[in-house]
């Protein structure tokens, strides 16, 4: 969002700059290589691995289009398949080489605009074109000449459509961006007028500055849009088969990034115009007002962060006394050793809380500023926020950092207090507990499904076997399981149905129950992914 003062602009830039976030610190070469490898693997899984599917799907489409017989279709698909793997390997190689230096800069978060330069690098394009040439040779060899010629004509039509759709999408997106930026500036003008009690004629002087700022913003984002469009041209295998109607009609081509830089460019233009308009006294007054507002926002964020501390997800399952009580009871520790663990843990807790509070304050400042910008920097809204009448959540990233730190503190506390035998016993008990938790989750899930499906005893027994098998793949630890049940309600354990063998479930139910199950599955569909996050969690 553009802001009318350099102070705000700097603040916004600070909030957006990922280089200043935790995780961007210097890493060793080995750490970078490992992180790049993990990252590339996750991309392979989530993004690249479908190339084989795309290429073979493409071959299937051709077979369908020209009514190839089964043998010809199979041969074509078999010839196309290695190409899918080759494309994946091509990108994996590039990703591995690319991510190490970028991880050093950005930390482990990477966005679309971060790897767009990779997609458009000469090696990427050359490799992609080479693979496309292989695809063409393969088709030429596999298809009858008349089919190959028809296919070439088809590709020409699709390319024309793609170019048209792509250009339409870029235009729609940039127009939408311009509209939204203009609205933001209009809000800023209204705020400015009210802040300094300007008459409308005086503020009207800034209208041309708004036009120029909007233009500067769009001009800054246009290269990113064009780069993205260029990438869509090169990414033959991803886009040649895709329906592009949504591009053409709604501009849905992926978001055009580069927003922080564009905001900066727009703010520079606007602030220069503002500087000319304001007298030194007004500028000083505005500076004072902006500083005062910033202080109020910081204070509100601090107080909000403190009030959110108790609800912090990691702390919900983090009950030092309860954890050490269980530990002491299970291992038969005397009170002195229990007190030692508690003291160690509480000491670490102080540091973790301090880190969390600091990170959460920054996060809330950003959120408050965003919310204020949307409401035209309304003072009434700020008053509501200050009075604690406006709710904000915490950042999942910050929460996860705290959870990780807590886990480490707990492990250190145990290591320094328990003997090796005791640690082993404790770990065994934890494994047994995870097993018992799986059973518990399965039992509640079956009980809840039973409430809706009205199962016979023998049906329930069979369903329980499937539920236990599904729950065992999650093996949740106690704190995570409790957190899930607390956040969503015990009934949502029925989402476990999505992890059960669907065919086996169907074989257990009668027709009427199977019909009900469709509704139940739809009802709990979204919660299965939350439940899957229990997998492998260790608190």
């Amino acid at each position: 969002m553009p802001y009318p003062s350099p102070i705000f602009a700097v603040l916004v830039l600070l909030c957006f700059s990922r280089a200043l976030l935790p995780g961007a610190e210097e890493k060793t070469a080995a750490e970078l290589a490992a992180a790049a490898d993990t990252f590339a693997k996750s991309y392979e899984k989530n993004w690249l691995s479908d190339y084989t599917k795309r290429v073979t799907g493409f071959a299937e489409e051709i077979a369908e289009l020209y009514s190839l017989d089964e043998v010809a279709k199979k041969t074509l698909i078999e010839a196309a398949s290695p190409l899918g793997r080759a494309i994946t390997e091509h990108w994996m190689k590039l990703y591995r080489g690319y991510y190490a230096p970028h991880l050093k800069l950005w930390g482990e978060d990477t966005y679309w605009d971060d790897y767009l330069p990779l997609c458009l690098s000469p090696e990427a394009i050359a490799g992609q074109r080479e693979l496309f040439a292989q695809w063409e040779s393969m088709l030429k060899a596999q298809l009858k000449p008349q089919h190959y010629a028809l296919w070439q004509a088809e590709m020409k039509t699709r390319r024309e459509w793609r170019v048209r759709a792509r250009d339409a999408a870029v235009k729609i997106q940039l127009d939408n961006i311009a509209k939204s930026v203009r609205q933001d500036f209009d809000k800023q003008l209204a705020e400015l007028a009210s802040l300094l009690q300007f008459k409308s004629e005086r503020i009207a002087v800034l209208k041309p500055a708004v036009d120029a700022a909007v233009q500067a913003h769009v001009a800054s984002r246009r290269p990113a849009a064009e780069q993205m469009a260029k990438w869509c041209d090169e990414e033959f295998f991803r886009y040649a088969t895709k329906s592009l109607t949504a591009w053409e009609k709604e501009g849905k081509m992926g978001s055009i990034m580069n927003q922080p830089a564009a905001d900066k460019a727009a703010s520079l233009v606007f602030d220069a115009a503002l500087k000319k308009l304001l007298t030194p006294a007004e500028a000083a007054q505005m500076h004072e007002l902006v500083t005062a507002k910033k202080q109020r926002i910081n204070k509100a964020a601090k107080s909000l962060a403190e009030s959110l501390l108790d609800g912090m997800p990691s702390r919900g399952g983090w009950r030092v006394a309860a954890d050490t009580d269980i530990l002491a009871a299970e291992l038969g520790l005397d009170s002195a050793r229990q007190a030692k663990i508690t003291a160690h843990f509480k000491e670490a807790d102080k540091a973790i809380i301090a880190t969390w509070l600091k990170a959460t304050e920054s996060y809330l400042i950003q959120r408050i500023n965003e919310r204020m910008a949307r409401s035209g920097n309304s003072d009434d809204l700020l008053k509501q926020i200050e009075a604690g009448r406006y709710g904000f959540g915490t950042s999942t990233d910050d929460d996860e950092v705290a959870v990780k730190a807590k886990d480490e503190a707990w492990a250190t506390a145990l290591k320094t207090t328990l003997t090796t035998d005791e640690i082993l016993r404790w770990e065994t008990l934890q494994k047994e507990q995870a097993e018992a938790n799986s059973q518990l989750l399965a039992h509640i899930a079956v009980a809840e499904l039973d409430r809706k499906l009205l199962l016979l005893t023998e049906q329930r027994d069979k369903l329980e076997v499937l539920a236990i098998a599904a729950a065992k793949t999650l093996a949740p630890d106690t704190a995570s399981l409790q957190e899930f049940l607390r956040n969503y309600g015990a009934s949502y354990s029925a989402a476990l149905i999505h992890g059960m063998d669907a065919k086996a479930v169907d074989a257990i139910l009668d027709k009427e129950q199977s019909k009900s199950l469709i509704e139940i599955k739809a009802r709990y569909d979204g919660y299965w992914s939350s439940m899957q996050r229990l997998k492998g969690k260790k608190r």
Binding site: A321, A322, H443, V446, R451, L454, G489, A490
Partner: protein, 271 residues
């Protein structure tokens, strides 16, 4: 939209059109409003009937699975279910009329429609399975063996659910009150009995028989374990933690107890 609802919407439309049709004998303002109320009431009651039939059909499905009931008796059971739903709806109709009268006084027909539409969701949530007609029909249509067979299925289902939730309570108190393995073992039967006794009474706080169970209220059942026996197992410090572990469930515990007493009384009247 099913045909029934379609016909009823047609009815309301006709009532509204008739209110302004110059070819018809002029109706008085009161008559026009009455026409609209009747038509809208029919829609509300038809929807309530449809909603209440769903759990009845599920129950019939349950009985059929448990007893393999023959087709002729199954048909009679369906008729009884419709009758029970009608009986269940009768007082709702009276209440609705009474409430509506106060709210629509002096309003034009179109505004009356909106007010009545807004009242739709406030009626008809009670289950028709408690209607005497249904209870008696089930008893007379099933043989004593079949009835016992179905009741066994229901009992086993409830017992399974009670045990599952007792396990959850055990996990919770074990952590919250720091119970040793021995203490946990001693608490198990107490909590199993607490869930078995009070879980049915929680339905009011979990959206009825088919609603979603909120864990916060579930922990209220911890307080259902007899204090004397719990105290005998725990240290005084653990006892405080035990009580506190009910969390916000503690706020509704006395209401659960009242609901429990009411249910037991009802059950003693309709064994």
């Amino acid at each position: 939209m099913n045909l029934n609802a379609l016909a009823l919407f047609f009815l309301v439309g006709t009532a509204l059109l008739a209110a302004d049709d110059p070819s018809l004998p002029a109706a008085t303002g009161t008559e026009r409003t009455q026409n609209v109320i009747s038509a809208q009431l029919s829609i509300i009651l038809s929807e309530a009937r449809e909603t209440q039939m769903k759990p009845m059909q599920r129950t019939i499905g349950d009985i059929t699975r448990a007893t393999h009931l023959a087709e002729d008796r199954l048909k009679l059971l369906h008729i009884a279910a419709h009758g029970a739903v009608d009986d269940n709806i009768k007082p709702m109709r009276e209440r609705l009329l009474k409430d509506a009268e106060a709210r629509i006084k002096g309003l034009p027909p179109n505004a009356v429609v909106n007010v009545l539409k807004g009242m739709r969701d406030r009626y008809g949530s009670t289950s028709a399975t408690k209607q005497p007609l249904w209870i008696e029909s089930v008893k007379s249509l099933l043989t004593s063996e079949e009835l016992a067979q179905w009741q066994r299925v229901v009992r086993e289902r409830n017992a399974y659910r009670s045990r599952a939730y007792a396990e959850l309570l055990i996990l919770h108190v074990r952590k919250e009150a720091g119970l040793s393995p021995e203490q946990t073992q001693k608490m198990r039967p107490l909590l199993e009995k607490a869930t078995s006794d009070y879980l049915p009474d929680l339905s009011m706080w979990s959206g009825g028989d088919d609603g979603d169970m909120y864990s916060g209220y579930l922990y209220a059942l911890i307080l259902g374990a007899p204090e004397k026996e719990v105290r005998a197992v725990l240290t005084p410090a653990q006892w405080d933690k035990w009580r506190a572990s009910a969390g916000e469930g503690g706020e509704i515990w006395s209401s659960i107890q009242s609901a429990h007493e009411r249910r037991l009384k009802e059950e003693s009247l309709n064994p």
